[in-house]
């Protein structure tokens, strides 16, 4: 599905991502973890096309996508959410999700202006599909409320619905549990598993260890831009290097 090969990213003198390679297998849930500043979000931005890598190759569904514009990568079947939720001011929840159907519909400028009969059916499909997703995420009652005025957890759901509306092959989730309490986090965990069961491969960046350990098939650990471990959750939990960067070293023992 997704393959990173020897990715480097420099910001001036800062080596933000250093020689990172890994693969995401189709149908799996993979997590990227690491302390603050480890380069997780940078890595996400490289994959989604918001940044171009300084060197290295990123392959998605068999095509090299490094340096490609985000909207073209999105059209190939990659959807994402953002760490600090990015919704569209002035649009309702339903409309926001309908934007997600953009890559799966085609009516152009003139068709829109003339409101041609040929576009009516497409519009209805877009609306119906968006509504289904709002129902799936249990926020259908807020369909006609401006998305940015919803509660935090609901905004997360709108963003998730927008990403799912794209019918992606790969879904990138940037800290989906940030700012949620333990009940909501458990809810998100169930949702992510469900998304995987729908046949969508998931790559997530997360701080919340319980979430990651519960649902991931495999985990990549980053520290200071370098990959220091990649394994199944159980092995990662026992990896001394990972324990060291997360819990810190015992000064006296060292």
């Amino acid at each position: 599905m997704l393959e990173l090969e020897r990715i480097h990213k420099y910001f001036g003198g800062l080596h933000a991502v250093n020689d990172v390679s890994f693969r995401v297998e189709t149908g799996s849930i993979k997590a990227v973890i690491g302390p603050n500043g480890a380069g997780k979000t940078t890595l996400f931005n490289l994959i989604a096309g918001n940044l171009a890598p300084s060197s290295g190759v990123i392959r998605f569904v068999g095509r090299e996508i490094q340096g490609m514009k985000p909207h073209r990568i999105a059209a190939l079947g990659m959807a994402r959410t953002f760490q600090n939720i990015k919704l569209f001011h002035g649009m309702t929840a339903l409309e926001s999700v309908m934007v997600g159907r953009h890559v799966r519909s085609r009516a152009g400028f003139l068709a829109g202006m003339l409101h041609l009969p040929s576009t009516w059916r497409e519009e209805r499909q877009i609306r119906d599909r968006a509504m289904e997703l709002l129902e799936l995420l249990e926020i259908a009652e807020f369909a006609h409320v401006e998305a940015t005025s919803l509660a935090f957890g609901q905004q997360r759901c709108v963003e998730m619905a927008r990403a799912l509306a794209m019918e992606p092959r790969l879904l990138l989730l940037d800290e989906p549990a940030a700012g949620l309490n333990i009940y909501e986090t458990a809810e998100v965990a169930r949702l992510i598993t469900r998304i995987r069961d729908m046949g969508i491969t998931v790559l997530l960046v997360e701080h919340d260890m319980s979430l990651v350990m519960d649902i991931s098939d495999e985990i990549v650990v980053l520290s200071f831009g370098e990959k220091i471990a990649e394994d199944v959750p159980r092995a990662i939990q026992q990896n001394p290097e990972v324990i060291r960067i997360y819990l810190g070293e015992d000064e006296e023992a060292a």
């Binding site: 989604a48 096309g49 918001n50 514009k69 985000p70 909207h71 999105a74 059209a75 959807a79 994402r80 953002f82 990015k86 919704l87 569209f88 001011h89 002035g90 649009m91 409309e95 926001s96 309908m98 934007v99 997600g100 159907r101 953009h102 890559v103 519909s105 085609r106 009516a107 152009g108 400028f109 068709a111 829109g112 202006m113 003339l114 409101h115 576009t119 497409e122 519009e123 877009i126 927008r162 990403a163 794209m166």
Partner: protein, 361 residues
């Protein structure tokens, strides 16, 4: 949604007709002249609203596109091509059938481009310039985009003011009427001109064009592309991630709004029989921006009502010699007290009424 939209359009059509009947009954037909001009200016304002309010891209250069439309159609339909009649280009145009012979007021032979061809040429040129300008300029954001479009407006103004072809400070006058449709089956022809007798006809042409333009934009806003535009305004990054080609969308809507401005320029020039460089001035661009803001930025109806209403008052001379000052003051006051537009102050009440009604249904 659709239902309220067509109802609002019907209300507007009714209002336009009632206004004309009122001026007839009260013997105030002279108002029709300014009402006609207001409709054309409002056409610029609604086009700019889609660019600014919905797509979130500012332009302080739209008087430039208006002037490109007006000046090109004026120059092409007035400059005599007889001295150049031998040149291959003029002969080629003659064979295409886009030239027309006539006489000027002194009885001199005239050979000029037909208004239809001139109109199409003017709009195409405006669209092309918008396209070429938009590619680099729309990469800029906020203040930088405002400055760049301001620069464009200034260039067009200076070109109009400095070139002999466009009449320098005098502008171009004696622009002929624009026959939109020839008279068929006993019906009179549809002509855009300033003749006293065709004042009513021109009033309806202008408002007809404005209403059609309005319907097209309302449709656009509710369509797939319209949602994409609004998403760019909300968050360009998220719009890209959702697969919206933001650069292309912004460019398309920039060209569209330029075409609206150019069309308004063409029609108003034929209606007035001429235009001067003040139409290209930066103050005009600022006025369009102010009218979009007064209308409520992302509000086509507000833009139409305020664009036509305030322009009408301005053309009637209500603001006297403080005209530009009034628009500047309006811009400041709106930004301070009603950033969602003047209509929003009362519309909020109206909206709650509507909501109640729709839940009743």
């Amino acid at each position: 949604m659709r239902y309220t939209k067509s109802r609002a359009i019907l209300c507007l059509v009714a209002l336009v007709i009632v206004t004309q009947l009122l001026t007839r009954i009260t013997g105030t037909s002279y108002y029709l002249t300014q009402l006609t001009m207001s409709a054309y200016y409002a056409l610029v304002v609604i086009g700019l609203t889609v660019l600014m309010g919905y797509a979130g891209q500012i332009s302080i250069g739209h008087a430039g596109f208006f002037a490109i439309g007006g000046y090109l159609s004026a120059a092409l339909t007035t400059h005599n091509l007889i001295p150049l009649a031998g040149s291959p280009l003029v002969q080629f145009l003659g064979r295409l059938g886009v030239l027309v012979r006539g006489q000027d007021i002194y009885g001199e032979q005239l050979l000029t481009v037909t208004p239809w061809a001139a109109c199409l040429a003017a709009i195409l040129v405006a669209a092309l310039i918008a396209f070429l300008l938009g590619i680099p300029v729309l990469k800029l954001k906020g203040h930088y985009l405002a400055m760049a479009t301001l620069g464009f407006g200034t260039i067009i103004y200076r070109i109009a003011l400095a070139s002999d072809y466009f009449g320098e400070a005098d502008g171009i006058s004696e622009v002929p009427g624009f026959t939109l449709l020839p008279g068929v089956a006993g019906l009179p022809p549809l002509v855009v001109n300033g003749d006293f007798d065709s004042r009513v006809q021109n009033y309806y042409i202008a408002w007809g064009v404005l209403i059609i333009g309005m319907v097209l934009l309302l449709n656009l806003i509710d369509s797939r592309v319209g949602r994409a535009l609004r998403s760019i305004h909300g968050s360009e990054e998220a719009a890209e991630a959702a697969g919206v080609d933001t650069a292309r969308c912004k460019l398309q809507v920039f060209v569209l709004s330029a075409v609206y401005a150019a069309l308004a320029g063409v029609l108003l020039t034929h209606y007035n029989g001429g235009l001067g460089p003040s139409e290209a001035s930066v103050m005009k661009s600022v006025r369009y921006v102010a009218l979009v803001a007064v209308g409520g930025m992302a509000n086509l109806w507000g833009a139409l009502v305020m664009g036509a209403g305030l322009t009408f008052l301005s053309l009637r001379g209500v603001f006297g010699s403080f005209d530009d000052a009034v628009f500047g003051a309006i811009l400041i006051l709106v930004m301070l007290f009603a950033p969602d537009g003047i209509l929003s102050l009362r519309l909020n009440g109206l909206r709650t009424c509507l909501k109640r009604e729709s839940t009743d249904r």
